[in-house]
């Protein structure tokens, strides 16, 4: 048994150097050359300043912006480090709500969100993704239905014709890959940036 100790130690060290240093560092180097934008986190700039990542959702609450999905991420309470406080779209602490289907807290929160959305747009059925928290709390997308649902509010807040805002949503619809994989969606940050650019012109 003693003679097996040497290979145990050596193999762990050898494989650590190979798979724990050489492999990830080589991948980092190659990625930086081949795909610098993606490797760096797909950062998005506006007027030369980084304002986020194309893949990471942001918290939108103003009427003039399309809103993303509810987010359950939290942050440590500045007043008491042993507690947490809600901090939607905290990209340094991804998390879902983990509320089960029979959770009273979940159903009450959804009920309040539904009431708010129905007041805003009484015509359409409320899309489920607008009242449920995403798994990561950082979902950058909403469904096309959820985007169209918000058109009246956004148009009113911006003083634009609904058709113009609707047209922007249509321009930002992303379909399924190869027509099969994934689900149709709209990137909220990209859509909002396009609307801002529209206003600036």
């Amino acid at each position: 048994m003693l003679k097996e100790i040497r290979p145990a130690l050596v193999m762990m060290a050898f494989l650590t150097v190979l798979t724990g240093f050489a492999y990830p560092l080589a991948m980092t180097g190659v990625a930086k050359v081949l795909f610098p934008h993606q490797a760096g986190g797909s950062l998005v700039e506006k007027n030369g300043k980084v304002i986020g990542s194309a893949l990471i959702g942001q918290n939108f609450s103003e009427d003039k912006y399309f809103h993303g999905r509810p987010s359950a991420t939290t942050d440590t309470d500045p007043k008491d480090p042993t507690k947490t406080v809600p901090a939607p779209y905290n990209a340094a602490n991804s998390a879902g709500s983990n509320a089960g289907p029979t959770s009273k807290a979940l159903v009450e929160r959804v009920q309040a969100d539904v009431a708010r959305l129905k007041a805003e747009n009484p015509k359409d059925a409320v899309p489920v993704d607008l009242v449920t928290t995403s798994a990561s709390g950082l979902d950058p997308h909403i469904t096309p239905e959820a985007a169209f649902f918000q058109v009246p509010r956004v148009a009113k807040a911006r003083g634009l014709e609904e058709t113009i805002v609707r047209r922007q949503v249509q321009l930002h619809l992303e379909g399924r890959t190869f027509g099969i994989l994934g689900e149709p969606r709209v990137n909220v940050l990209a859509l909002n940036m396009a609307l801002d650019a529209l206003g600036a012109r």
Binding site: E4, R6, P7, M11, M12, L15, T16, T19, G20, Y23, P24, L25, M27, T28, A31, K32, F35, Q38, A39, G40, G41, I51, G52, Q58, N59, Y65, Y89, N90, A92, S94, G96, S97, N98, A99, G100, P101, T102, S103, K104, V110, Q111, V114, K118, A125, V126, V128, T132, T133, S134, A135, S136, D139, H141, I142, I180, L181, G182, E183, L189, M193
Partner: protein
Amino acid sequence: MTSNGWLQIALFCVVVAAVVKPLGGYMTRVFAGERTLLAPVLGPLERLAYRLGGVDERQEQGWLAYAISMLLFSLVGFVSLYALMRLQAVPLFNPAGQGVVEEGLAFNTAMSFDTNTNWQSYVPETTMSYLVQMAGLTVHNFVSAATGIALAIALVRGFARRSAKTIGNFWVDLVRCTLYVLLPLSIVAALFFVWQGMPQNLGAYTEVTTLEGAKQVIAQGPVASQEAIKMLGTNGGGFFNANSAHPFENPNELTNFVQMVLIFAIGAALTNVFGRMVGDQRQGWAVFAVMAFLFLGGVTLAYWAEAGGNPAIAHLGVDGGNMEGKEVRFGIANSALFATVTTDASCGAVNAMHDSFTPLGGLVPLFNIQLGEIIVGGVGAGLYGMLLFAIISVFVAGLMVGRTPEYIGKKIEAKEVKMAMLAILVLPLSILGFTAVATVVEAGLAGVANAGPHGFSEILYAYTSATGNNGSAFAGLSANTLFYNSTIGLAMFIGRFLMIVPMIAIAGSLASKKIVPASGGTFPTHGPVFVGLVVGVILIVGGLTFFPALALGPLVEHLSMNAGTLF
């Protein structure tokens, strides 16, 4: 449920089935010690490893020596990973300035990655430095997977050999698996992932001012390199807390599809390795058929339940299925499929929060793990788990007709059946035992996030996942406490090593036996009757053992949900 959803699921099945034969052929050559295409590049590295370790690659080991090598290697891995986390404060690859990992959490995490579980009691982006993620966790993603595959190959050699004293050399199997199978596939997958949007950098977290003027800190890191082996090695430990639901860890439907294929690739291909090594590929396809049947059952139930949605929310006039804890880009079909795949294998990565699944949708992952993760299964662990059930099945068949059971030309005798039962019974003992304790002590109940039967499910899921070395969770449970870190750590140890040792003993015992030529009275183990029998044994053993616990959790919750009861 939509026809597009089913189309995506069907496409996944086709791709996995297409991978089985080519990858199986390649892996068979690797473990037979044959020269492969990559030998000119990797051969020198392989020989260097043997020279440094003082390993004679032609010297094979008996089952006991094989087991001791494996256990010593796992022990060294556990200690070194624990030490790395306890020394984390060193300012090397640590731009976020993560501090020392506390003892209980370091114990739990070291055990978790050493056993290929990758249960995570911590939030990675606020706990682990890039050094620990790379030199600790990524390394264990490779070696714990290679260990599992090596063990499965050793068991298959037991079936394939006649009157032999040895079952291979652990060090050779470990090195060849890492170098020739895991590393090349990971490199290709990692680069594909970066191309599709996954970060791969060593920079500090990016602080930005959002469109609305708020501060947002965006966690970064060498994500893609860890992600590739996390899937391929059925490890499942996320670079971020939200795991493969995080947009950086799974940016789009293509990466999602590839991740699911990677989870199943090696486990499915091992059935073909088995067939080739015992000289009859039909034996491998029979095992694959058992897996496919159980997989399709699981994904159908999960997809149906999730698409049906939560009546409490539908009553409010909301349109759509259950989207709580799911991402828009994956939707319901891909979330249900991923949940089934990750728990059929012992992966444990998630692209949606299982805790927020409907009761029956959440029952599927739970039950999959409780069956022993033999539906494709963890790399290696799935095949040896399934072969244990095959042994029990031929034993049951033998009892019915009064003949000494045989499997692949080997007489199955009392010793093998006893060892197989020992390995199988470890699972319910640990899962149900720990769950029972946690539901009566205060420290256990304190961690529960949801009230009512769902809270019980959270505890049951934790010990199921730990013992099954899966690593997924009903993540509402606050598991980063002394009680949970230590008991879950223990469950992971029991689930891995107390199953492995009897299994290698079977390998040694089988290898020493003569081959019995098939006769008219031999029960054929490559046909539909055998497949049906194994499915039956799996469901009866798994079903009867865990049914009472499932009745208290998901089943009663399902009835409550439909009756409109909230907790």
